[in-house]
Amino acid sequence: MDRGQLSKWFKHPGIMAQKYSLWAVYFCTGCGIIEVPPSITSRWDAERFGVMPAPSPRHANLFMITGYVATKTLKAIIRTYELMPEPKYTVAFGSCPINGGMYWDSYNTIKHIDKYIPIDGWIAGCMPRPEAIFIGVTKLWMMIDKGAATGYKRYRENYEYYRKNQEKLFGKLPWPPLFPIEDKNEKLTV
């Protein structure tokens, strides 16, 4: 451990603990997941950065969206994201979640993932190398340090916006809203 950081550990133990124990959901969305097995095993060993694949979304706080997102997959992504405990961080991995990538005119691929769930960091490339994951992780550390990784807070504050976009795609979602949604019409009548 870096001795220069000792003062930080005493000042903000919570933040430091969150920072160095990022548990990633083992969730495979697209072709990008092919980069994950080498990065979590002995070749690149993500555990030296504190990143470990978690057995269940209930135990995880890092969500990497690896590769293109089909509409059917998005439903599972939203569900998984809402299952994760706060604080949680999301990283979009590869060019497809960012703007559709090579599927920019496909009828069945989500173009901008940040319209459906909040995203904290982006790793561009098609495919990014495992080294890029670690650069992304260290950037995420810096963001957590500064309190800039506020995706989960954004989700809570603007839940109405995200839910509306999700329902535009799927019609009525089969699970209830995670956070209470203010009904504007109701307010007017009261």
Partner: protein, 161 residues
């Protein structure tokens, strides 16, 4: 073997044409009434497995073309059977009684092209969950327009605020 088979097919089935693109690829064009009998005939002659079924949309001719590919374990010859059906309200008979593995191919074609296969018990959505009623692989479906309306029209969070 393939030449004898081609001769017999032309003799036995009406309005049926046989052509080759290579030594091991035989194409058979047949009217839609003859397909059932033809597949049964081929199955009796050793073409025991269905490789795949696919569909082509010929929008200018107002027709769908169903392509059945059957294979044989003893020769490298593949037989590709092309059947044309009308494009408006397309229905066709399922070939499940002959090849059982046709179930999912027909299910997929039903989803992507909208062809109804009579006799297929499982024409439920396969890849496209919660899908509105159109068939994305038809030529008259404008993918870019759909993307503009469905995905690009959503404002970003900053714009929404």
């Amino acid at each position: 073997m393939s030449e004898e088979l081609a001769k017999e097919i032309i003799d036995n089935f009406s309005n049926t044409g046989v052509s080759y693109t290579s030594k091991y690829r035989m194409y058979i064009q047949t009217p839609k009434e003859e397909l059932f009998r033809l597949l049964e005939y081929l199955k009796d002659n050793g073409f025991k497995y269905l490789v795949m079924i696919t569909c082509v949309d010929w929008i200018n001719e107002n027709e769908f073309e169903l392509v059945y590919q059957v294979g044989n374990f003893n020769t490298p010859l593949r037989i590709i059977i092309q059947v044309r059906i009308p494009r408006n309200n397309p229905t066709y008979e399922s070939i499940i009684p002959i090849f059982k593995n046709a179930t999912d191919y027909e299910r997929e074609i039903h989803e992507l092209f909208g062809i109804v296969f009579d006799g297929n018990p499982k024409l439920t959505p396969l890849f496209l969950e919660d899908w509105q009623k159109f068939h994305p692989f038809k030529k008259d479906f404008d993918s870019r327009e759909y993307v503009k309306v469905t995905f690009d029209s959503i404002p970003t969070l900053e714009e929404y605020k």
